[in-house]
């Protein structure tokens, strides 16, 4: 087990390095092709070459390699990695420390993820399992129709409609009835409120959870159905175990393996969803930070965020692999 973890970690470090370099190269290329972002500081107003040079120095985009198309800018990459060793992540184009920006952006996104993961696990897995148990009954059809519906409705549309109906219409009713600072008034509001981070993130968190829930529900159902017919379940029933023990210990536990893999990947996919969710609900999180930084070609921020996300993603995959071992004795004893 220990050797397995170490091998996985070493792989992860190598992958991370490769991802970072690729990203650095792509962003340098973007500047080489699209021009130095320092010029945009002045917008439509005229600027002298000396003024632009001063801003390039401030932005850290004054390396001459950025003027040569295709140059990998190895010097810049080396410098950045050396800075990172000393935990210096540099500053963004507005002169603020990247570390501060990220530290501020992490909590709302974490809350958002915590809410949507709970939705997947509590709601997705539960309904999937129940649908399997009630196969062919009304509840099963309801779940299947419901999952098809969530896949069919575009996330963006769902977010905008909910913002209007729940945030504005229902929220106005709640605020008129119970008061501006009431729990319902805060939960049903059209944007993030930094005084009540958890409550105001509840609705967008659930919506983000709706993104990807169909897959998890369907997979739980199928996986459960498959195991219900498995030999070991029949044996367990034949042994005279209680139906509760058969369902939870023997069937459910084994059915969760593929589901957990999917939860991990859906979480990674949901990063894309946070960009939209955070954008519409004005949540100052990682998705919005990444989106704006990419749009402005803000190199230090983009690279730092992607590094963090890659690390998170690798940790999540590692955890999933370890969970396999916990759930399935066959993997554990190999």
């Amino acid at each position: 087990m220990g050797r397995y973890v170490i091998r996985r970690l070493l792989q992860a470090v190598l992958t991370l390095f490769f991802v970072l370099f690729l990203l650095h190269y792509l962003l340098s290329l973007a500047i080489q092709v699209n021009g130095n972002p320092a010029r945009t500081f002045f917008g439509d107003k005229p600027a002298t070459p000396e003024q632009i040079a001063a801003v390039e120095a401030k932005f850290g985009t004054d390396d001459p390699c950025l003027d040569r198309l295709g140059d990998p800018c190895l010097g810049m990459f080396q410098q950045r990695m050396a800075d990172w060793m000393t935990l210096d992540f540099g500053t963004n184009f507005d002169g603020y420390a990247v570390t501060d920006e990220i530290v501020r952006a992490v909590p709302p996104t974490l809350i958002l993820f915590a809410i949507s993961t709970s939705v997947w696990v509590l709601f997705g897995v539960t309904t999937g399992v129940l649908a399997a148990m009630k196969r062919g009954r009304f509840f099963d059809y309801l779940v299947r129709a419901g999952t098809t519906f969530t896949v069919a409705v575009p996330t963006f549309l769902l977010l905008v409609i909910t913002q209007q109906l729940v945030g504005v219409s229902l929220g106005n009713w709640a605020r008129d009835t119970f008061g501006r600072e009431s729990v319902l008034g805060i939960v049903f509001q059209p944007s993030y409120d930094d005084r009540y981070p958890f409550l105001s993130l509840l609705v967008p968190g659930i919506l983000l959870g709706a993104f990807g829930i169909a897959g998890i529900t369907r997979l739980s159902r199928t996986s459960m159905l498959e195991n219900l017919r498995a030999d070991f379940v029949r044996t367990a029933k034949a042994k005279g175990l209680t139906s509760r023990r058969v369902t939870i210990v023997h069937t459910l536990r084994n059915s969760l393996i593929p589901v957990i893999t999917l939860v991990g990947f859906t979480l990674a996919d949901a990063l894309g969803g946070t960009v939209i969710t955070e954008g519409i609900y004005s949540i100052p999180g990682m998705g919005g930070l990444a989106y704006n930084a990419t749009r402005e070609n803000d190199l230090p921020v983009v690279i730092a965020i992607v590094a963090i996300l890659s690390v998170c993603f690798m940790v999540v995959t590692l955890l999933i692999d370890l969970l396999y071992a916990v759930l399935d004795p066959r993997i554990r004893y190999e």
Binding site: F41, M133, G171, R180
Partner: protein, 545 residues
């Protein structure tokens, strides 16, 4: 099976307790239902880039600076200079050396006194090349500006550093005594006082200059409001009325700005009653107009848009070609179709809110006449068989230009090709005269004077502007205006220059932006007015209900 039912029961119980909890909480806060008229004004804002006056370049930062800081002058609703810290307008004998008197007794919020020396220090910081402040460009006409800038970089972007600025102090600015500031310009210019109301000229405390980064997070202002806490990036800025402010005290006790990130806007929050004044976006405009009626105010701004021509390009060097293109644009139809009719047709280079505005300087060239346009173009050497390349940076401008291209194609019988570039690339190619066809171009004022819409854009010789335009008579008239004795004489000269420019038409003016603002029920609608020059709400007149 029984067990499964229990699971369902557990879930519904959980859901019910959740609702129950929420309902309980709701009951507690029930007393203050509805309006939030507690002396607090709640506004929405995009994340500012910076809160240091020297480095503010966008409306978001400008809005905050206007509340926290007070400058020598501001602009009144007509765009005229109005003293704030200064005592009267600047005086001069020769339009080269200007004397500005300060009122006594103004201080910063940390207790530091504001004297002439404060401005000397603040302005030196702003202009010094290595600080790379956006506001540095506003001081260009002051003597000694060039010596404060970085020298030429010997090897372009190479490893050798650019030479340090020769001077650390702006030689044209002197504190004669604690209440007298003397500014010497490089060349006499009667329009100089008009520039002084801009954010870049606001004073900064010694404590602020000593630690700019800290001051950016927690501004040390000298204006009617004082920041409460610090700038909560991407989420909020709160401020309270500063009782020790010696100028006009506003009536609103507290302002809370909520910051919207990404593409989010304050509009849904306004509809939910959490924001008091908001601007509907393009999608919400018509609904808002129908729903709010009189509570929606629409006002002219100083932002103009037009189709720029590459005068340096052979195909567009003939003024008649440019005139034909301009006459082929149905401006009102364009604005009605693309902007739901919310903007104003531009028929001059200077917009109506700017002092020195003269109606219809563009004249016939800005009047829609497809027949004449087609005829005019046919009489030139314009190659009709090649597609015209239309340039724009990626974003909403692509749609704007496409609709314009369709009009040109239909009315002139040309074909066009849309060329989209990323913003930095577009700016670089525009600077370098590499755009090979007409492009979309906009301008916002730096100071309220018609000269600002002429000289920086089309003056300075063919290499000094984006269009490669060189009008000898135009530049001559501008120079005469700059040397005029009085401001009104200067404006007249600038107006003459504008008429001459319109005959050459380096840009076809198309529209002037208008703002739409909806006023919520907590605010007295009669007290609302927006300053057309600064683009901010006049906080002194605004009252809550």
């Amino acid at each position: 099976m029984r067990n499964n039912r229990r699971v369902i029961t557990a879930i519904s119980a959980l859901a019910l307790t959740g609702v129950g909890l929420a309902a309980c909480g709701g009951g507690d806060g029930g007393s203050g239902s509805g309006s939030g008229s507690d002396g607090t004004l709640r506004l929405g804002l995009g994340e500012p880039q910076n809160l240091i006056p020297a480095n503010i370049q966008e409306t978001e930062g400008g809005e905050i600076a206007d509340r926290l800081y007070a400058g020598l002058y501001t602009y009144d609703m007509e765009g005229n200079l109005a003293p704030v810290l200064a005592d009267g307008v600047p005086t001069t004998e020769d339009n080269k050396v200007w004397t500005i008197k300060l009122q006594e007794g103004f201080t910063f919020q940390n207790g530091e006194e504001i004297t002439a020396e404060t401005f000397v220090k603040s302005w030196n910081y702003t202009v010094y090349g290595e600080n790379a402040n956006y506001g540095a460009g506003f001081f260009k006409q002051i003597d000694g500006w060039a010596e404060m800038q970085l020298g030429e970089d010997p090897d372009g972007d190479g490893p050798e550093e650019a030479a340090k600025p020769e001077a650390t102090e702006l030689s044209g600015v002197k504190a004669v005594d604690p209440l007298t500031l003397e500014v010497t310009l490089a060349e006499p210019w009667v329009g100089f006082p008009v520039t002084l109301g801009y954010t870049a000229f606001m004073p900064m405390a010694d404590e602020c200059l000593a630690d700019i980064d800290a001051c950016n997070e927690t501004p040390i202002g000298n204006g009617p409001y004082k920041i409460d806490g610090k700038w909560n990036h991407n989420s909020s800025i709160h401020m309270e009325k500063w009782a020790d402010y010696k100028g006009t005290q506003p009536s609103i006790e507290r302002i809370e700005y909520k910051i919207y990130t990404g593409d989010a806007t304050a509009w849904p929050d306004f509809e939910a009653g959490k924001i008091d004044i908001a601007a509907p976006g393009a999608e919400e405009y018509e609904v808002a107009k129908a729903e709010y009626g009189d509570a929606m105010r629409e006002e002219e701004t100083g932002q103009t848009w037009g189709l720029g021509f590459p005068v340096y390009d052979e195909k567009f060097s003939d003024p008649n070609v440019r005139k034909a293109f301009s006459m082929a644009i149905d401006r009102q139809g364009y604005i009605d179709g693309l902007f739901q009719g919310r903007y104003t047709v531009a028929n001059s280079y200077t917009p109506a809110v700017i002092p020195g505005y003269l109606e219809g300087t563009c004249g016939e060239a800005c009047t829609f006449d497809p027949e004449a346009a087609k005829q005019l173009l046919a009489d030139t050497d314009f190659p009709m068989d090649q597609p015209v390349e239309l340039w724009v940076n990626s974003g909403p401008g692509e749609d704007y230009l496409k609709v314009l291209g369709d009009q040109l194609a239909a009315n002139l019988g040309i074909t066009y090709e849309l060329k989209t570039l990323e913003w930095p690339d577009f700016l670089g190619k525009k600077d370098g005269h590499e755009l090979t066809g007409p492009f979309l171009t906009g301008w916002s004022p730096d100071y309220p004077l018609n000269q600002n819409y002429l000289e920086p854009l089309y003056g300075n010789g063919p290499d000094g502007n984006d269009f490669g335009f060189h009008g000898e008579e135009f530049e001559q008239l501008l120079a005469e205006g700059n040397r005029a004795e009085t401001l009104s004489d200067a404006m007249t000269k600038y107006q003459e220059a504008e008429k001459v420019l319109a005959a050459d038409l380096p840009v076809a003016p198309i529209w002037v932006t208008r703002t739409a603002t909806v006023i919520g029920e907590n605010v007295d609608p009669d007290s609302f007015q927006r300053n057309p020059i600064l683009g901010t709400i006049d906080i002194n007149s605004l009252k809550l209900l």
